[in-house]
């Protein structure tokens, strides 16, 4: 049971980032900047929680900061027409450099900053579900909200329409750039939540603490077959395998570097299996 409980906590940042990233994928321009959005969220979340003196305010600030950063990325990508992959790399690099610079200017270090006055994330017990950090419940609410936007609102239809055929959207007088920008802003919001969850759960900021999670979220989107339910299932599988490997660490000693390498190896293997499966499916259809 402990393994499953941990899996649900571990999967939450992946789930949030992938849910936002899914919108950008459906709008036809998958962003690889999720990692950078999360890092900005992680830094702003814990720093504003320290300044304002409230963990909840920190989470909101983290989400807002990440949205502003997403606006910068989206503006450059969709309105100045930069190559989306290069702009995504730029956003990731900028997030890494900017957080290091800000942390050096304001806290005098580029290393780990711990805020002893910042209260960690509170856990709540819910009957039948168990005891989880309240961010876990928020992530489920966000997931439902995104499902609702995508399937039940005109906005969701237009986002998907943009991904399906942006010229048709343009021909009926709507602006594809706007819907792409909106989906990136939502991704900024969810990644900001994911990032602030990472930093606030330890009341610290660690340089580059997102550690590839934004990239793994991209793979989660594909493995989830580009649907909300699929993203949920794929995140759980990831959470479970990482939780199992942590559990195994307690039984046999594995060098810590291998534990750090494990999520990457798992992700690549999952991608290969997914691609083979997709190839088979296409083969049958033809």
């Amino acid at each position: 049971m402990k393994v499953i409980h941990d899996a649900v906590s571990i999967m939450t940042p992946f789930l949030l980032a992938a849910a936002g990233g899914l919108l950008t994928e459906l709008s036809g321009t998958l962003t690889i900047a999720l990692e950078g959005f999360m890092l900005i969220g992680a830094f702003s979340g814990v720093v504003f929680a320290h300044i304002i003196g409230s963990t909840s305010a920190g989470i909101i600030a983290g989400a807002l900061a990440s949205m502003i950063f997403a606006l910068l990325y989206g503006g450059i990508t969709y309105y100045l027409k930069a190559n989306i992959f290069i702009a995504g790399l730029a956003a990731n690099l900028l997030a890494s450099g900017l957080t290091a610079m800000l942390s050096f200017s304001f806290f005098g270090t580029k290393g780990v900053i711990h805020f002893s006055d910042v209260e960690g994330l509170r856990a709540f017990h819910v009957p039948l579900l168990g005891e989880y950090s309240f961010m876990v419940y928020i992530s489920w609410a966000v997931l439902l909200l995104i499902w609702f936007i995508l399937n039940k609102t005109p906005l969701g239809m237009r986002i998907r329409g943009t991904g399906f055929d942006s010229e048709t959207i343009r021909s009926i007088g709507l602006k594809p750039e706007l819907y792409r920008l909106l989906s990136v802003l939502i991704a900024g919001f969810t990644c900001g939540l994911a990032g602030s969850m990472l930093s606030l759960s330890v009341s610290s900021f660690v340089p580059d603490m997102t550690a590839g999670r934004g990239w793994i979220a991209l793979v989660v989107i594909y493995l989830g077959n580009r649907t909300i339910a699929g993203v949920l299932a794929a995140s759980f599988v990831f959470g479970l395998s990482i939780s199992l490997s942590n559990y195994a660490q307690g039984i046999v000693t594995i060098p810590s570097d291998f534990i750090l390498a494990f999520p990457y190896i798992l992700t690549v293997s999952a991608m290969i299996i997914y691609s083979i499966w997709q190839g088979r499916k296409k083969g049958v259809k033809e």
Binding site: A82, D257, A261
Partner: protein
């Protein structure tokens, strides 16, 4: 990757330098000193100048590696892992065979480093051809795993227990590339960089292989229709791209560090992408583009030594290059100007 006018790239370079100035003004308490050290620092003395030129050498190799992948319309995001793997392989060869003569040892170490990194990159090409696995993401993820494995090798089996550094034992001195401009670290690795720049240009622009690769990069279906075996131009460009990255790692070890230190090549892989973009994937322009990026880094370093800014300012400037170099804003500005008269 389409070609953008040169004027746009010159303005990109200018704007990235301006962004450095803006950040210094925002964050520094002594902004004038910081700006002065940033711009003039690399030319203050032989030591700084030599080290600046030397730090462009790994960027030349990674820039060439990325250029050749871009020419084939492939995204190799695994540069960080590939250069690191190449470096540690080169060290391992030197440590395993401590008694070879200098030339044979250097050649063996560099070739082994290149091949290791080349094979690592080639996996992404093979996966793409065989199962249509997205090579951009697979190369990044494989490199992420390899970075940790190399960390393990450097701090575990290859660690030098007599030193407190997280590093391997030093290699024997007959394997060192000769220094050119003491007391700086500049070494003959620079000539290797220039040689490979010319060699890559020759391969891409004058051989049938290069021609077919460029056609495949331009349009795979067109190339396939014309009878070109397209899968060849996915797998081999990835191998060559990785090989060049690994070579860069090997040259950094034999020329500059003489051992592998944990995380010592970090950033050179990402830097290679900025170099390739600035050079518009032209192997000959890679050399000046690498020098510009090395100048950014060296300027940030001297500004950090003498004032209160951190060297991450160079990373931010590099991000500005990424943002602007493919965007149409420069192009639009110049087009408008031309229309006016």
């Amino acid at each position: 990757m389409e070609t953008k006018p040169l004027s746009g790239r010159i303005v990109t370079v200018g704007v990235s330098l301006l962004s450095v100035v803006a950040f210094i003004l925002l964050f520094s308490k002594t902004p004038f000193d910081a700006v002065r050290y940033f711009f003039t620092g690399p030319f203050l003395n032989r030591y700084f100048l030599g080290n600046m030129i030397n730090s462009s050498v790994p960027l030349i190799f990674t820039g060439l590696g990325i250029s050749i992948a871009f020419k084939a319309s492939l995204f190799n995001l695994g540069g960080e892992g590939q250069i690191y793997a190449g470096a540690v392989t080169a060290v391992a060869v030197c440590l395993a065979f401590p008694g070879m003569n200098g030339f044979a040892g250097i050649t063996a170490a560099l070739v082994a480093g290149g091949i290791t990194a080349g094979l690592l990159a080639m996996i992404s090409g093979l996966l793409k051809v065989k199962w249509n696995v997205d090579s951009m993401i697979s190369s990044f993820l494989l490199s992420g795993a390899v970075l940790h494995v190399v960390d393990y090798l450097i701090t575990g089996p290859l660690d030098d227990p007599s030193s407190s550094l997280l590093a391997t034992s030093p290699i024997n001195s007959q394997y060192f590339l000769s220094f050119l401009m003491l007391p700086s670290k500049l070494n003959t690795g620079l000539f290797l960089g220039l040689l490979f720049s010319a060699g890559t240009a020759f391969l891409v622009y004058t051989t049938l292989w290069g021609y077919e690769m460029r056609i495949s990069g331009y349009s795979r279906s067109f190339a396939g229709y014309g009878g070109i075996k397209v899968s060849r131009y996915v797998i081999t460009p990835f191998f060559i791209s990785g090989f060049l990255h690994g070579l860069g790692g090997g040259v950094a070890v034999l020329g500059t560090y003489h051992m592998a230190i944990k995380g010592f090549t970090a950033g050179a892989g990402w830097g290679g992408i900025a170099v390739a973009l600035l050079a518009d994937n032209n192997p000959l322009l890679v050399v000046p583009a690498a020098l510009f990026l090395a100048y950014l880094k060296a300027g940030a370093n001297t500004a950090m030594q003498y004032t209160d800014v951190t060297m991450e300012i160079a990373v931010v400037a590099q991000a500005v290059v990424y943002f602007l170099v493919t965007s149409e804003i420069m192009y639009t500005i110049f087009r408008r100007k031309r229309k006016e008269p």
